[in-house]
C-alpha cells in the first residue's frame, strides 16, 4: 500500500524542519548576544583590575603588562578580608533570620484563624512599599540607644524580618495540602512540630530561593552600613568599594580589583545553586 501525499503536505514536511532549524538558530543568536552582554562587563572588570594605572583607560581587550598590583593595593589599603568576612556573616545571618521569621509569620497567617489576620497581612504587604530611607533615621536612633552602632549585630537586626520573605513563604505555604497538616494534628502534633517536621522539609525550593535572594540583597546593602559603620574594619564590602571613589580621583584599577573580590563569593554561590534557584523560581511562577 502506498500513501498518497499531497504536494502541499510534502512541502510542509520539508519546510518544517528547516523553519524549526532557523528558529532555533535565531533563538541561539539572541541567547548568545544576551550572554555576551551579561558576561562582557565581568570580563572587563577583571581585565581592568589587571591593568597598571597609566593603562586604566585603554580599550585593548587584554593589558600589555597584566599584574596583580591592584589586588595587592586593595588588600593592603583597606581591611578587605575583614570586610568580606563581615559581609558574609551579616548576609548569612540576615538570610537565616528572614527565613525563620518568614516561616513563623507565614505559618501563623496561613494556619491560625485570627481576627484581623487579613489586616495584618495587608499591613505586612504595605510595609514592603515603605522605602528604607524613611525608617533609616528612627532605626539609627534606636540602634544608637541600644549600643549597636558600629557592630555587625546592628547591621543584621533591622533586616531580620522582611515583608518579601513573609509574603513569599505565605504564598508557598497556602498551597501546602491541608489534609496532611490535619492528619498530623489528629496524630497529636503541635504547631511547632508540624512546622519543622512536616512543612519545612517540603518547602525546600521556596526556602532556598528566599535564602539566596535575602543573602544577595544583604550582600549588596549599602545605605544602612554606610550610616551605621564608623570604622572601615567594622564595615562591609560595599562600603569598601566606595572607598576607591575618592575626592582625589577615582581609583579604577583597585576599584575593579575590589569589585572582582566582592562579587566572587556571590558568583560561586550562584554557580553552585543555579539549577535549584531557577527551578524554584519556575515553580513559584507556575504556581
Amino acid at each position: 500500500m502506498t500513501i498518497d501525499v499531497s504536494p502541499d503536505l510534502a512541502s510542509l514536511a520539508t519546510a518544517g524542519p528547516k523553519a524549526g532549524h532557523a528558529r532555533r538558530l535565531a533563538v541561539h543568536a539572541v541567547m548568545i548576544l544576551l550572554s555576551f552582554l551579561s558576561i562582557f562587563p565581568i570580563y572587563w572588570m577583571i581585565v581592568t583590575s589587571l591593568r597598571p594605572e597609566n593603562e586604566i583607560f585603554s580599550t585593548s581587550l587584554w593589558p600589555s603588562n597584566p599584574s596583580l598590583e591592584n589586588y595587592v593595593f586593595v588588600l593592603t589599603r583597606i581591611p578587605m578580608i575583614g570586610m568580606l568576612i563581615n559581609t558574609t556573616i551579616v548576609s548569612a545571618a540576615t538570610a537565616l533570620l528572614q527565613v525563620v521569621t518568614g516561616l513563623f509569620a507565614a505559618y501563623a497567617l496561613v494556619r491560625w484563624r485570627m481576627r484581623l489576620s487579613g489586616v495584618i497581612h495587608g499591613l505586612i504587604a504595605l510595609s514592603w512599599l515603605v522605602p528604607f530611607q524613611v525608617t533609616m533615621i528612627p532605626n539609627y536612633v534606636l540602634a544608637s540607644r541600644l549600643g549597636l552602632l558600629d557592630t555587625l549585630t546592628g547591621l543584621i537586626v533591622p533586616n531580620a524580618a522582611h515583608a518579601f520573605a513573609i509574603l513569599l513563604l505565605y504564598n508557598a505555604m497556602r498551597s501546602f495540602p491541608t489534609e496532611i497538616l490535619e492528619a498530623a494534628r489528629i496524630d497529636g502534633a503541635r504547631s511547632w512540630k508540624i512546622l519543622w517536621q512536616i512543612v519545612v522539609p517540603n518547602m525546600g525550593a521556596p526556602i532556598a530561593s528566599l535564602s539566596i535572594i535575602a543573602f544577595i540583597s544583604a550582600w549588596n546593602e549599602y545605605f544602612w552600613p554606610l550610616l551605621l559603620s564608623r570604622k572601615p574594619e567594622n564595615s562591609v564590602v560595599q562600603i569598601g568599594l566606595q572607598m576607591f571613589m575618592t575626592q582625589e580621583g577615582n581609583l579604577w584599577g583597585p576599584l575593579m580589583a575590589a569589585s572582582a573580590l566582592a562579587s566572587l563569593p556571590i558568583l560561586i554561590i550562584y554557580l553552585v545553586l543555579q539549577r535549584h534557584v531557577i527551578e524554584s523560581f519556575m515553580k513559584s511562577g507556575i504556581r
Binding site: I56, F57, F73, Q133, S144, L227, P232, E248
Partner: protein
C-alpha cells in the same frame, strides 16, 4: 528629600533645645586629663592618598597630645553632613568634623557649630591665625565669625594636554589665558584631533559649585546677594552663556557631566578646569601617555579671575569645655605649618600658610620638584569665598541652580531664560 527634611527638623530642634547658642563655659588652658574626642572625617573614608595623610596627621597629634584620644568616624564626603546630623539627633554629640563649605551656613545656624571667637580667647585665637592667608580665613566665616577653619581646599586650575595642543597646531608653552583663547584652542583640538576640546568639572553630581561659581564670579557675577538669588542676573548669566556658546561652537565637549575628569585622564580631552586635588591621579594616568600641563584658570578678557574654593573646613561641635580644648588643639595641629606641608605635598591641596611655600624646612623642596603647583599658588591672592546658601532648603536651592546651569549649557532653549525660571522657583525656597 523627606529624610533630609526630617533630619534637618530634628537636628534643629535637638540642637536648639540642648545648647543655647553663645553660652560657652571657659575651656581649660591645657589638656590635663585624658579626653576622647570624635573626629568625623571624609578623607579617612577613602583608600586614596588623603586617607594616608590624615592618618599620619592624627598619629602626629596623638603623639604630641598623649592625653587626647581621637576617635575617627570615616564617612564619604557626600554623606558626612547627614551623619553628623543623625548623630546629633541620636544624642551622640560630635566634637570635630571635616565638612564642606556648601554646608557652612547650615552648620552655623542649624547644627550648633561653635564659632571660634566664642570658644577661644581672642589673644590665643589671634596667635594661631597669624600667618594664615586672610582670604583663606574668610572662607569659613558666617556673619563675621569663624565657624569653619579652612582645612583641605583648593582653587580651580586649567589642566591641559600638551600633546593634543601640539597635534592641533597650538603652543603648549602658551596656554589659554582667557575664555576667548579657550574657545579658539578647544575648536582647534576638536577639528584637528577629533578629541574633545574643553570641559569644566562643574556639572557632575560630586563637583559641587566651586568651578561654576569661580567662572561666574570671574565675570563679576554672584549666585546670591543676601537672601536674593542672583545667578540669572546679567554677569552671572553671561558667564553661563559663554559656556553655551562654546558648546555650540564645538569647543566645549558634550560628554556625560560626571565624566570630565576620567575623559581628561584618558587623554581624550584637551583642557579641563578642576581642583588640584586630582593632580596626583592625573600624573599617574598621564605617565608615558601624554604631556600633562597646568595653567591658572582663564579670565574674561582683562577682568581678574575670582578663583573660589573647593574642599573642606574643620568645625567644632563640642559643648564640654575639656573636649573643646582638645578639639581646638586638634584644629591648631591640623592647620599648622607641619600639617599643611603634609596636606599640600601628599594630597595636593593648598596651604593656608604661604610662608611655608619656599621654606626649605617645609614645602620648599616639594614645590621645587613640582613647579606645576605654582599655578594654583598664584591664584591664592585672588581667592574668593565660595557662596553657600542659607535656610533649611539650601541643598534644594543649590540643586535647582546646578540643574538649570546644565540645562542652560547643554539644552536647546535660551540659557538666560532657563536660569531665570529656575531662579524664580528657587527664590521661593530661600528664607
Amino acid at each position: 528629600m523627606l529624610r533630609r527634611t526630617t533630619l534637618k527638623l530634628l537636628a534643629t530642634l535637638t540642637a536648639a533645645s540642648m545648647f543655647p547658642f553663645g553660652a560657652f563655659a571657659e575651656m581649660p588652658a591645657t589638656v590635663d586629663k585624658p579626653v576622647t574626642i570624635s573626629f568625623y572625617n571624609y578623607n579617612l573614608a577613602s583608600a586614596g592618598i588623603g586617607s594616608e595623610a590624615t592618618k599620619e596627621l592624627i598619629a602626629g597629634f596623638e603623639k604630641k597630645f598623649p592625653n587626647v584620644k581621637v576617635e575617627t568616624i570615616a564617612v564619604p564626603s557626600n554623606e558626612i553632613i547627614n551623619r553628623v546630623q543623625a548623630d546629633i539627633v541620636a544624642g551622640k554629640q560630635p566634637d570635630v568634623a571635616q565638612l564642606t563649605f556648601r554646608d557652612l551656613i547650615f552648620i552655623a545656624s542649624d547644627l550648633g557649630g561653635n564659632a571660634l571667637e566664642d570658644m577661644v580667647k581672642p589673644a590665643e585665637l589671634k596667635d594661631h591665625l597669624a600667618g594664615m592667608i586672610p582670604k583663606g580665613l574668610e572662607l569659613g566665616k558666617v556673619d563675621g565669625k569663624t565657624y569653619g577653619l579652612a582645612y583641605t581646599f583648593s582653587t580651580p586650575v586649567l589642566y591641559y594636554n600638551g600633546d593634543l595642543f601640539k597635534q592641533a597646531g597650538l603652543d603648549p608653552n602658551n596656554p589659554p589665558k582667557t575664555w576667548a583663547d579657550v574657545n579658539i584652542a578647544g575648536k582647534a583640538i576638536k577639528e584637528k584631533t577629533g578629541k574633545n576640546g574643553f570641559f569644566p568639572g562643574a556639572y557632575g553630581p560630586s563637583d559641587g559649585t566651586f568651578v561654576y561659581q569661580a567662572i561666574v564670579m570671574s565675570n563679576g557675577g554672584r549666585v546670591r546677594d543676601g537672601n536674593k538669588l542672583t545667578y540669572a542676573d546679567k554677569n552671572a548669566a553671561e558667564a553661563v552663556k559663554m559656556l553655551r556658546d562654546m558648546v555650540d561652537s564645538g569647543a566645549h565637549a558634550r560628554i556625560d557631566p560626571a565624566s570630565g575628569s576620567d575623559t581628561f585622564a584618558a587623554g581624550n580631552l584637551g583642557m579641563f578646569v578642576y581642583t588640584t586635588a586630582t593632580l596626583g591621579a592625573y600624573k599617574k594616568a598621564s605617565q608615558g601617555k601624554f604631556d600633562l600641563r597646568i595653567a591658572p584658570m582663564p579670565s574674561f578678557g582683562e577682568k581678574p579671575t575670582a578663583p573660589t574654593n573647593s574642599g573642606s573646613a574643620l568645625f567644632v561641635f563640642s559643648k564640654d569645655p575639656a573636649k573643646q580644648r582638645a578639639a581646638y588643639e586638634l584644629l591648631k595641629y591640623l592647620t599648622s605649618k607641619e600639617a599643611y606641608t603634609v596636606i599640600t605635598s601628599k594630597i595636593g591641596y593648598l596651604p593656608l600658610r604661604l610662608d611655608i611655600v619656599d621654606d626649605p624646612n617645609y614645602l620648599g623642596p616639594w614645590v621645587k620638584e613640582n613647579p606645576m603647583f605654582r599655578a594654583n599658588l598664584e591664584q591664592l591672592n585672588r581667592l574668593t569665598a565660595n557662596v553657600a546658601f542659607p535656610g533649611p532648603n539650601y541643598r534644594q536651592v543649590e540643586k535647582m541652580m546646578m540643574d538649570s546651569v546644565r540645562e542652560a549649557v547643554f539644552g536647546k532653549g535660551d540659557p538666560v531664560a532657563t536660569l531665570k525660571a529656575a531662579q524664580d522657583q528657587g527664590q521661593d525656597l530661600m528664607p
